[in-house]
Amino acid sequence: MDFLRPASWEEALAAKAEFPTAVPIAGGTDVMVEINFDHRRPEYLLDLNRIALLREWEVAEDVVRLGASVTYTQIMENLRTELPGLALASHTVASPQIRNRGGVGGNLGCASPAGDSHPALLAAGAEVEVESVRGSRLIPIDEFYTGVKRNALAADELIKTVRIKKADGPQQYSKVGSRNAMVIAVCAFGLALHPETRSVRTGIGSAAPTPIRAKTAEEFLNAALDEGGFWESGKVITPSIAKQFGDLASGAANPIDDVRGTAKYRRHAVGIMARRQLVWTWEQYRGSGNGRSLEGAA
């Protein structure tokens, strides 16, 4: 196994062009596990740790440009206001030691359906900025996940940043695991209210071959909020709306039975999380009068 250590982003792109099978490694929290267990023997590892720009983030007018290697700890500590859903998701990642190394770039690169950040990115709305020696492009998050552990990257491309819309309303994130910390997701759910566009977005993790949005649930809720004038009045969400939203989210899941949980349980749990999060986010929206207080409730 050859270990490539580019000193700059340009060198990294050149290396990836020359060795397209090279596996990028930053925190190594996924890649090293796969290597240690012999699930994967890449010909080349492409170490991105010398590239400072990947560890930087920038808060712009409407979006946060998050370097691929910005750690989960940094997200939790610095971007709670701008990215409350992702900050909550970061909090559920493994242990403090892993959160000090791992970042969203690795989650996207591995594209495991169990990656903790995906539902938050789907709910917030994001674009993945990827680059190669040929140039750069932005991949909408909805088009990023193409299959089980597969993504829309070309062989010579590297993930540079993730551009995530700054929260314009409350966001929530929950993950079910069979212990209270340091656990791989049995299933996860994220919800973001977008008062500026009078819309909601969702994300489901570990309950389908790829991370997905619960689109019918979103459509139902968008319509119900709109028809009932909820955005304007800020009135209490009715239990029947919350329940139907949960049921539709549950129906969007397409999980399997495995050693971590049954498909039936995953579907059930997605529905509960969706229903609860709607209540939490909506109460926050109401409580702030106009939805301007964007802190996660937890």
């Binding site: 069979s178 910390a181 971590r260 509960i272």
Partner: protein, 801 residues
């Protein structure tokens, strides 16, 4: 090949000396290795290194039951860097099997594998990666056989026999060759007693396969010696038991296999059986080079036995005023492919199946099966854990049926000193079962809705789901549950369970210094701490050196069965007393004529001096020993003898001592998501005498958490169709983290057992028993569900199995 002069490998233990002006028994002195462990400087067995060493790798079966049609090692052997590849055909001695009680386990598979992960071949290479790749190039042609996975398939007509032609000492009395051992216990008249019962409850309970999950994986280093023998440095629980199994398969006399304990990263029963010991020795002897083997986490799940999963059927009756009338039970333990400790686990499960209750009319049967599942053997609690989970569920069912408080019902039936066990053995030392229950119940409960913070919102860490942020209080219901258990201490059923201690007393730089040398495996229990405390108390010295554990001294028995403080601690006390007597003898010889007290008074060694029991100082120890050789004695120590249980009636004084603990569990259950937060596990335990309270509390809290683990998360999942392990990793075999760990208030009683050294009671296992059923009881109370299987999965609480 050039002969090297070999030195001790880097990372092997050395003498540890601690000086304390006080630090005798009863004080919470700190562990000599504590700071090293906390700062990461302690050398574990996996840290050892020897110049010129090779790395060993085990190739394990990928199927559970198969004939091996052929093995082709040529490609592996041809790899550069590979020094040796060994299979069954290369075993050097007549004896090819080993085993704790029954030598049924092949060192390497002999034409047949009986469980997933069974060792088939060994590789030694100059780099661990080379060894792994070479092992992967060994071609094995498996012809798969049907698998036996439970009682029905094991005892079915025409079932494959796991071990054909058995001739072990249990073969003659078991009803089927796929039963390792069967122990019935019959006392009183159940059928007659049954007629007195106003209520009868029955239950069928299932206990999942728990793993010891020690953090330091199996590892060790074998160094070939010039005399044709081998020096083995290894993390184990019992050096001499290993030695007895290793030497015959190497074809060496025991004195040519010299063992030294290296740093042990936890054990919990999982190191009672041989893992890499023989394999490393074989490779070292074959290559004439030091060979190190370190399992990774994945291999560790296959490298040691697990706790027996069990099916337990219980029937209890009680009168309407709450007195137990009778109990019938049948306990089926799955021993997996090899016997390991199964026979002794059967003995414990049967003899402790009534729990700490008065029950004169019982009909008990326990069996262990041979199956193609992973082998199961020793784990903390050893057969008593599974039974406690079931009988405590029964107690709650009975109390509910009678409309009684579950604690009051238990207290009404609690055993006490003088109670007769179902084996006929009289409990002849304190058994404060009712008092332990009273104490945990009397504690104030944690406040309701304890997750609510003064400011705003919920502290999710105090809620089910924790940081995963699944509830802010929605769906959360509190439950409270109680349980109490009984565990035996020491090896039972007639086993000669002795311990040996060597103690040396000499004057160094004008100061008396004691050295304690035993073969006791320090696996984290704190034996090295209490041995020094005992030496200080008995010999009046401040400075004590603990010699590394090795086989140059006699056996210390196993670090298991809650026995080491009692047994090797007892041996250290016993040898110290003899050393003290030798000091006094010298003193009498030298000084007796100067003071009559030398002849007439009871004399002690205290603060470096010989003193009378009245406190009068007669001499400095250093003075007495001046010009004398060091006093150096090695003596064996035995607890009172036990006898085997009768094979038909189960009668017999089979146990040494009993140990009791009670728990109250307070849980918050998210009833919609099926997630559990254990908020508090209050416990009370009688330890006879706490030689070191800090260690005692640590053991109680650790055991309590291990019991919590198997209540709500820990289980090795074996596919019933293939008998293959599905979750051999810490990603999918979950153990509690600190965020799953509740507050554990501990209430320690010290009621002396007159038969035991200092009155102490072995205490390391009892808390592991009652913690699990207490948590289960609390979850049942919160959910109203019956929950007859542990661990509980979220599916079981949400109807989504």
């Amino acid at each position: 090949m050039a002969q090297h002069t070999r030195t001790v490998p880097a990372g092997t233990p050395t003498n540890v000396t601690q000086k304390h002006n006080r630090g005798g028994i009863g004080e919470s002195t700190l562990r000599p290795d504590g700071i090293l462990k906390v700062t990461g400087e302690f050398a574990y067995s996996s840290d050892m290194w020897h110049e010129d060493m090779l790395w060993g790798q085990t190739l394990r079966s990928t199927v559970a039951h198969a004939e091996i049609a052929s093995i082709d090692i040529s490609e592996a052997l041809a790899m550069p860097g590979v020094y040796s590849v060994l299979t069954y055909d290369d075993l050097p001695a007549e004896m090819k099997n080993y085993g704790l009680e029954i030598r049924d386990t092949p060192v390497l598979a002999n034409g047949r594998v009986r469980h997933h992960g069974e060792p088939v071949a060994l590789v030694a290479a100059d780099h661990p990666e080379t060894a792994r790749r070479a092992a992967a190039k060994i071609r094995i042609d498996y012809r798969e056989l049907p698998v036996v996975t439970d009682e029905a398939s094991a005892l079915a007509e025409g079932a494959p026999l796991i071990h054909e032609g058995r001739d072990d000492h249990h073969a003659g009395h078991v009803p089927h060759p796929n039963i390792v051992h069967r122990q019935p216990i019959v006392r009183g008249n159940v059928e007659e007693a049954r007629t007195r019962a106003d209520v009868i409850v029955e239950g069928e309970y299932t206990f999942g396969m728990q793993d010891q999950a020690f953090l330091g994986p199996e590892s060790g280093l074998a160094v070939p010696a010039e005399d044709g023998g081998v020096d083995l440095y290894v993390a184990t629980q019992w050096l001499h038991s290993d030695l007895r199994q290793i030497a015959p398969v190497l074809g060496l006399p025991e004195e040519k296999v010299r063992m030294t304990l290296s740093g042990v990263g936890g054990a919990f029963g999982g190191r009672e059986d041989i893992s890499m010991q023989i394999h490393a020795c074989l490779l070292a002897l074959a290559t004439n080079k030091p060979v190190k083997i370190v399992y990774n986490r994945f291999e560790s799940f296959f490298g040691h036995v697990h706790r027996h999963p069990a099916k337990l059927h219980y029937e209890h009756g009680a009168t309407k005023d709450g007195k137990l009338t009778h109990m019938k039970c049948r306990i089926v333990l799955d021993g997996g492919a090899y016997a390991s400790a199964s026979p002794a686990v059967v003995g414990n499960a049967s003899s402790l199946s009534v729990g700490p209750y008065v029950l004169d009319d019982v009909d008990i049967e326990a069996i262990a099966l041979y199956t193609n599942n992973p082998p199961c053997g020793a784990m903390r609690g050893f057969g008593a854990v599974q039974a406690c989970f079931a009988y405590e569920a029964q107690m709650d069912k009975l109390a509910a049926k009678l409309g009684m408080d579950p604690v009051e019902f238990r207290r009404l039936n609690a055993m006490e000193m003088g109670t007769i066990m179902p084996t006929g053995q009289v409990v002849d030392s304190p058994a404060p079962v009712a008092e332990l229950l009273r104490r945990v119940k009397a504690r104030p409960l944690p406040p309701e809705r304890q997750w609510e913070t003064a400011g705003e919102g919920a502290d999710v860490r105090a809620l089910p789901g924790g940081l995963s942020n699944t509830t802010h209080g929605e769906g959360v219901v509190r439950g409270v549950g109680y349980a109490v258990g009984i565990k035996n201490v020491g090896f039972s059923e007639g086993f000669d369970d002795y311990s040996t201690a060597r103690v040396r007393l000499e004057v160094i730089n004008g100061e008396p210094v004691a050295m304690v040398h035993t073969a006791m495996a320090e696996v984290g229990q704190g034996g090295v701490t209490v041995h020094a405390q005992i030496a200080r108390t008995e010999l009046g010295v401040t400075q004590v050196t603990i010699h590394p554990a090795d086989t140059r001294v006699g056996s210390a028995g196993s670090t298991s069965a809650s026995r080491q403080t009692y047994m090797t601690g007892g041996a250290v006390k016993n040898t110290c007393e003899a050393v003290r007597e030798a000091v006094l003898e010298i003193g009498r010889r030298k000084n007796g004529s100067y003071h009559p007290a030398w002849a007439t008074a009871a004399l002690l060694l205290e603060g470096g001096k010989v003193v009378t029991d009245g406190g009068e100082v007669l001499a400095d120890i250093a003075e007495v020993l001046e010009g004398e050789d060091a006093i150096d004695l090695e003596l064996e120590f035995r607890h009172r003898p036990t006898v085997p249980f009768d094979l038909k009636t189960g009668q017999g004084n089979g146990h040494v001592q009993y140990s009791f603990a009670a728990h109250r569990a307070v849980v918050e259950v998210d009833t919609e998501l099926g997630l559990v937060k254990v908020v508090e596990l209050a416990t009370a335990q009688d330890v006879g005498k706490a030689l070191n309270m800090l260690s005692v509390v640590g053991q109680i809290q650790g055991g309590t958490i291990q019991g919590l683990g198997v209540a709500i998360m820990e289980e090795i999942i074996v596919d019933p169709k293939t008998a293959k392990v599905r979750n051999p990793s810490f990603t999918d075999y979950l153990i509690p983290t600190i965020l799953d760990t509740p507050t554990i208030p501990v209430d320690v009683l010290e009621l002396a057992d007159p038969n035991a050294p200092y009155g102490l009671r072995g205490m390391g296992e009892a808390p592991t028993l009652s913690s699990t059923p207490a948590v289960l009881a609390a979850i049942r109370q919160a959910t109203g569900l019956e929950l007859n299987k542990t661990p509980i999965r979220p599916e079981a609480l949400t109807g989504t199995l």
